[in-house]
């Protein structure tokens, strides 16, 4: 079981209110991602759940039990750190065994669990090495192994993939998702990378300055962002946000249109602009369009390729049913 509830949780560092009172419920077995720009309080929130950070006010419940005053080790949570936080002078085996050793579990059980974890994480050949002799991805797997053997009520991941290179990150992302499917344990995952959030989460929590902007499934956030911040943060490339006269035509203070919901033409369309840089990804092309008179630079995503050179004139037409409208308070107009 791993149902976690935050009630009016608040954190103040000195005079700065990092997290204003906040409510959130995480259901058993859910994969929840906290996402937001750096400094938004997502790591602090995770550390508060883990017990590494005290609450200024409010309460945390795990499985309907108030754990606000319970020490970290007694909360039944396991955490994977960004720096892996492996014990450098211990072998992989001892690293994984450490939490069990602290819990006083007998050696036979320890070894059985270590072997099972090592097998599922492809670490069997590395059990007698020290962390210094492992690659980044292997270290990450050891850190996960150390978490698994505790059989926690929930896993907490604090930006676990930020120290890996891009290719490895995609691989580890899949491994963590596989792990979640296999264990069906609650996982809370903190990242600033919205791609990770979108691909991994059952539920995304978008945070800004300690405030939850929106909670929902990846596609909910994509299709119906509650406000302009979520609209701009979720989705890659970013949504084009247009203010002023063009927005008023649609009866809104500002409108947003995602790059993939723009149609491109070389001869006619709603908006006219000049082609800037084009990023060719093979399957898609991102074109940066300047001088539209609507915003600084508009991004368009098209399938395949288009014969447009730097400086060419280009016409863009939004798919009208895909326009997001926001009022003066930046909230979505349904």
């Amino acid at each position: 079981m791993g149902r976690i509830a935050l009630n009016k949780v608040k954190k103040v560092f000195g005079d700065v209110e990092v997290i204003p009172p906040l409510d959130l419920t995480i259901d058993d077995g859910e994969f929840v991602v906290f996402v937001g720009p750096s400094g938004c309080g997502k790591s602090t929130l995770l550390r508060m759940i883990a017990g590494l950070e005290d609450l200024t006010a409010g309460a945390i419940e795990i499985d309907d039990e108030d754990v606000t005053e319970v020490p970290p080790s007694k909360r039944g949570l396991a955490m994977v750190f960004q720096s892996y936080a492996l014990y450098p002078h211990m072998t992989v085996r001892k690293n994984i065994a450490f939490p069990m050793r602290m819990a006083g579990i007998d050696e036979a059980t320890q070894n059985a669990k270590i072997d099972a974890a090592a097998k599922s994480l492809n670490l069997t050949d590395y059990l007698d090495r020290k962390p210094g002799q492992l690659s980044g991805g292997q270290r990450q797997r050891v850190a996960i192994g150390r978490a698994i053997v505790r059989e926690p009520a929930a896993f907490l991941f604090d930006e676990p993939l930020s120290n890996l290179d891009a290719a490895l990150r995609v691989g580890m992302r899949l491994e963590i998702m596989e792990l979640h499917k296999k264990l069906e344990t609650t996982m809370i995952y903190v990242t600033h990378d919205q791609v990770e959030a979108m691909t991994m989460a059952d539920k995304i929590v978008v945070l800004q300055a300690g405030v939850i902007e929106q909670v929902g499934s990846p596609l909910e956030l994509y299709h119906t962002p509650r406000n302009k911040f979520v609209a701009g943060f979720i989705g890659s490339p970013k949504m084009n946000l247009i203010e002023g006269a063009e927005a008023e035509k649609h009866g809104a203070a500002s409108i947003g249109i995602r790059p993939e919901h723009l149609t491109v033409s070389k001869s006619e369309g709603t908006w006219k602009g000049r082609v800037g840089v084009a990023e060719h990804l093979g399957s898609d092309t991102f074109i940066h369009v300047h001088d539209t008179g609507l915003m600084d630079m508009m991004t368009v995503r098209i399938n395949g390729d288009i014969d447009a050179r730097h400086g060419d004139t280009i016409y863009l037409s939004p798919q009208v049913d895909q326009i997001h409208r926001f009022d003066a308070q930046d909230l979505r107009i349904a």
């Binding site: 080790s73 936080a85 014990y87 450490f98």
Partner: protein, 312 residues
């Protein structure tokens, strides 16, 4: 090849200087250790100048080897060095861990902690033996006298008086005595060198990874387990360095021994050599060679130890 010759040529003066610096004294010591050479001998005036004519072979070595003083000096050297190492490392780790936490006035405490290291060895010895350890005038004498007075007072008290009347009167310890003077040296040098260990351990503690500690907290490790499984292994390398540097320094202790008891009961190898060198330079040189051998044996062990921790 030419691009190697020039650097070597340029290095030559420095290398030569170092070689001369080391080899000449060593060579002279070796030479003196194989001849009869005394500073003052009325019956055999020819021994008073170093000359190959006075060749004695291994005679000086045999003479030293068969002296009880020599073996006592080696024992004492090892006792003093090992005790100081043991105490400074333990005290150093404890104090460093304590001072590493944040508390008001930490800056001042740290400066005060380092200050014993700036006291001259001879001054250190004079302060300790006269002001602290002296059985009459030192702190020790005053403290023991005070305790005795308190106990004497309690003897007449009702109820508990009977219990205290069984207590013997405490006697202050004379640290200039044969049996205790080595401990006085160990105490004062430990006092002086603990700051050095604290300093080194403190810098090392500040580089300790905080996320590892947090991971350990989540893994259920208490304060002691964190210290035992994270901090102590982290300190392995600085401990090895402290042990090595201190071993080198303390094998050649002299001032403290001279001041505490003029070598009474706590002669170490340098002091023994010093005494021989008052007259018998040949025997002193032979002992010096023994000291070099001893230092090398210690150095090999230490280098192995340090090398092992550095390899990890």
């Amino acid at each position: 090849m030419a691009n190697r010759t020039i650097p070597r040529l340029l290095q030559t003066p420095a290398v030569l200087l170092l070689l001369v610096w080391m080899l000449v004294p060593l060579g002279m010591t070796l030479f003196f250790s194989f001849i009869r050479y005394v500073l003052n001998n009325l019956r055999r005036p020819e021994w008073t100048s170093p000359s190959i004519e006075n060749w004695r072979g291994f005679g000086n070595y045999k003479f030293v080897w068969n002296q009880d003083g020599f073996w006592l000096a080696i024992q004492n050297s090892l006792l003093i060095v090992c005790s100081i190492l043991f105490l400074t490392v333990i005290l150093g780790v404890l104090i460093a861990v304590l001072v590493n936490r944040s508390f008001p006035g930490r800056g001042i405490v740290r400066v005060l902690l380092i200050s014993p290291f700036f006291v001259m060895p001879a001054v250190n010895a004079v302060l300790w033996i006269n002001m602290i350890l002296d059985p009459v005038l030192g702190l020790q004498g005053i403290a023991v006298g005070g305790i005795n007075e308190v106990i004497a007072g309690l003897r007449n008290a009702p109820l508990i008086g009977g219990f205290f009347s069984l207590w013997p009167e405490l006697n202050p310890i004379s640290f200039r005595a044969t049996q205790t003077s080595a401990y006085a040296v160990i105490m004062m040098v430990t006092w002086q060198w603990t700051p050095f260990a604290v300093l080194i351990f403190m810098t090392s503690l500040q580089s300790e990874d905080q996320q590892q500690k947090e991971a350990a907290i989540l893994d259920g490790a208490g304060r002691w387990s964190q210290f035992r499984f994270l901090t102590l292994p982290h300190l392995g390398r600085p401990i090895a360095i402290v042990v090595m540097i201190q071993a080198i320094f303390h094998l050649s202790l002299y001032a403290e021994i001279e001041i505490v008891s003029r070598g009474n009961g706590n002669k170490n190898l340098p002091y023994f050599i010093g005494e021989l060198a008052n007259n018998n330079i040949g025997a002193a040189s032979a002992t010096g060679i023994f000291a070099v051998i001893l230092a090398n044996i210690v150095a090999i062990f230490l280098l192995r130890m340090v090398g092992k921790t550095l390899m990890e």
